[in-house]
Structure formats: structure tokens, C-alpha cells
Subunit: 237 residues, 2 copies
DNA sequence: TTTTGACCAATTTTGTTTTTCTGGTCAAAT
DNA sequence: ATTTGACCAGAAAAACAAAATTGGTCAAAA
């Protein structure tokens, strides 16, 4: 089950699925399509995944991991990554870079297709706040640590961040292209705005954010491992 | 054509249409439904409006006027309405208070229905930036007047404002209700944030925004009268 | 003069049948 | 021991016809 070759191939299948589903959506992408794109037969796909649904779920989990790691990497690279704006900036970059996290967040019917209706799926779990509460957690801890001004309700701040993230991935076609700024300029602008409006004036607290993000990503990772373990047990039954 | 009684009835027809279309959408609301709700016959509706499409267009224009006047009224009432945050706050209240402006902005297919596909319609004109460029114009003039810090690209600021407005009217169901703050708290928070991040430190400029909004709404009103005139000429031909 | 609502052509919806497609399996090939 | 792809049952889509609804009109009623 854990052969190197197989794991490589599992990755290739997910790559193929990612490319096709991002373009044609879950419904219009068939398992045969995925197999062809991955250069193997349909039967081989089912050696790695129980069902189309399970395949897609694995893809979403992989993309979520990629997203989180990408976020963290951008953050560590950023000198000023310890501020709220820095942390949020990295998140927005990571989010806009990942079609599936973006699709989940905007509840994209075209990409997620019938998957959203399946009982007890990843999408529903995602929606229950698993993800947005991460942002609340972050704001809350930042305030508790004195890095954020505490004269604004953390729930309000979190929701503003959600609104901006939602706008970033959902406004295609709403504003004419010539009025839409470059992604980079936009995200940098958002970060500057957040910092100016929300950071504590105390400069000694300017770096505390990084540690908090590390903690949160770490906790999320542990939750993920827990989940994977319990799913394995479920399968083995 | 300009009898008081008739104009009253025209308003009642639009009221009926507003109520029904806001709930069932353009496609599922029939002219008979509107007539019944307005307490008159179907034929009478056609004494006031050329077609269902024209009726809806008239409704949208009325709603846009209501929205603009509401915005202005909120603004004048607000002591601190001259700041960017104050102006934006009023706009967000007016927007979230008006189902049709909100529907236009979020491109709501359920409410707008087949109307969006009609050639040369209000929705398309609306989309071409007629509306969002108002916000750009405002930011631009605020900066020119020295009321706004000029170290942020006005296009970026405008787009952030568009994102927040979009999020406000489009995120129903995206974030669980228990994580969503009250509308008032949210809008006030946004206003505070915008002011802190973007207003010039110069306190003498803190009231200049009101005048600029007045100018812009005035110009928009003149554009509207122009439009109405040219449409009348078109009809008379 | 003003208003109505029966009426009509045209569209939309609904119901039904036929055809195609797709997720998943497994005996045979590698 | 792996991998394949023909195969199948069930789902989805397409095609078609029948029924219902709707935007719009206008002779008749008010």
C-alpha cells in the first residue's frame, strides 16, 4: 500500500484530477478522463481510490495541505509577516493561488458540482466553520497577546477578513477588468490597510503574529492527522 | 399621462412588483401576479408600462433613486459623515437596505432571471461601471482634496470598497450565522477601519467628504435626467 | 374615457420514451 | 502480483410530444 511508485502514481492521478476538475468541474470530469490524463487505465484509478467521491476528497485534502503549507512558507519568507496584515496577506496569496480552496470558499457549484450534495462530505465539514474559525482564532489570540488594538470586536475583524477573501475569489466579472487592480497591488493594499487600522502601536508586538500562525497551522495539522486516522479506522472496519 | 391618481397607481404597481420580484424573482413573477397584488387588472398594468421588461426597468430605476437618496439622507444625518468611512458607511447601509441594488451588484440570477439576457438592459449598463466608478470618483476627489492619504492607489482603495460591499450582499450562507456579526456592528467596524487606515491626519479636512458626495450624487442625478429624456424621445418616435 | 378580463400566439413546463454516458467491477492479459 | 479495458446496471442527457402558462392585445363593460 505504501510503495513509492504507487504513491507517485497516486499523486499523478490527483494532478490529473485537479487539472480536469478545475476546468470542467466535478460532474463533467469522468474517472476515465482522469485515468487517461494520468496515463493509466480506469481500473488502476480504483486501485488507489475507493470511488470518485473518495478521490475528490483526497484531492481536496491535498489541496488544503498545499494551501496551508504555502501560506506558512509565504509567511516565513516575509520579513514583516508577524503583523496581522502580513499574516493575512500570505493567506490571500495562498488562497488565490489554490483553485480548490477558492472554490470551496466561494461554494462554486460549477467546480464542486454534485459533490456538495453528498452526505457528510468535505465541503460541508469545511463550511461548518472549520476554516473561517481559524481566522477568528488568530485575531482573538493576537488581541490577547496585545499585538492588536482591542477596541474592535474580533468577530467583526474576522468577518471583514472573510468578506475580503470572499471578494478576492468571487468577484470575477462583477467589476470590469479595466477597473480591477493587479492582484499583487490589491493584496499589498489590503495588508497595509489592515495593519494601519488594527495593529497595536506597540512596536515590540510587531512580530508576535508569526508564532501564533505557526501554532494555529500546527493545531490544524494535528486535527488533520486525527481525522485521517479515524477515517482509516473507518475503512478498515 | 401625469395625473396624480395615475402616478400613485404607477407607484403601487411598482410596489407590488418589488415585493413579488424580490421574493420570487423576475421569471416567476407574472404580470397578472403584479396586477393582482396591486389590486388592478392586467390590462391596467399595460396602460402604465409598455412591457414587463419596461416595468422592471422602471422599478430598477426607482430603486436606484431611492437608494441614492437614502444614501444621501443617511450621510447628511451623520455628524461624521464627511470622512471616507462615514460616506462608505452610509452607502453600505443604503445598499443592504435595498434588495434590488444588492441584487444588481451581486448579479443575482434568481432575482434578475431572464432580464439579464435581454439586449441593452439596465443590468448591463449598470455593470459597465456606471456604479462602481462612482466610488472611484469619490476616492479620487477625496485624495485630490487632501482628505485622504495619497500613499495608496485609489483604484486599490476603490476595489477594496467593492469587495466589502460585494461581501456584504453576497455572503449569505457562506459563514455560519453564529460567526456572523450584527449588520450594524459590521458596518460601523468597516467605517472605523477605513477611516483609520485611509484618512489624512489633517483634521481640517475631516468634513470635505460630504460636499464631494453631494456633487457626485448630483451629477448622477443629472445623468439620470438626461437618460430619461433621451428614453422619452425614443418612445415618442 | 378608463378599465377590464377573455382571448391568442408563443413560450415554458411537464411527462414520457429513447439513447448515451459513467461509476464501478472483474476475468483475462501482462 | 499488477494492470487492463470490456462489460453492466443505473444515472444522466437528449428527443419528443402534450399540457399549462404567460406576455401582450383589444372589444366590450363600466
Amino acid at each position: 500500500m505504501a510503495r513509492t511508485e504507487n504513491e507517485d502514481r497516486e499523486g499523478r492521478i490527483l494532478d490529473a484530477a485537479a487539472q480536469l476538475i478545475a476546468h470542467f468541474g466535478y460532474d463533467k470530469t469522468t474517472v476515465s478522463d482522469i485515468a487517461r490524463e494520468a496515463g493509466i487505465s480506469k481500473g488502476a484509478v480504483y486501485l488507489h481510490f475507493e470511488s470518485k467521491e473518495a478521490l475528490f476528497e483526497a484531492l481536496l485534502i491535498r489541496e488544503m495541505m498545499t494551501y496551508a503549507l504555502n501560506w506558512l512558507a509565504l509567511l516565513e519568507k516575509d520579513e514583516a509577516g508577524g503583523t496581522l496584515g502580513g499574516m493575512y496577506k500570505s493567506m490571500l496569496y495562498a488562497l488565490s493561488d489554490n483553485p480548490f480552496m477558492a472554490a470551496l470558499f466561494r461554494q462554486d457549484r460549477h467546480i464542486l458540482g454534485n459533490y456538495v450534495r453528498k452526505p457528510d462530505n468535505f465541503f460541508k465539514r469545511f463550511q461548518e466553520g472549520q476554516s473561517s474559525s481559524t481566522r477568528f482564532e488568530f485575531v482573538h489570540r493576537m488581541q490577547a497577546a496585545g499585538a492588536l488594538r482591542d477596541d474592535l470586536d474580533p468577530q467583526v475583524i474576522t468577518h471583514i477578513m472573510n468578506m475580503l477573501a470572499y471578494g478576492l475569489v468571487s468577484m470575477d466579472g462583477v467589476i470590469p477588468a479595466e477597473e480591477t487592480p493587479e492582484l499583487d497591488d490589491l493584496i499589498e493594499g489590503i495588508a497595509v490597510m489592515m495593519d494601519r487600522a488594527l495593529m497595536s502601536p506597540d512596536p515590540t508586538k510587531a512580530d508576535i503574529g508569526k508564532q501564533i500562525v505557526r501554532e494555529i497551522v500546527d493545531e490544524a495539522y494535528q486535527r488533520y492527522e486525527q481525522l485521517e486516522k479515524s477515517e482509516q479506522e473507518q475503512t478498515e472496519q
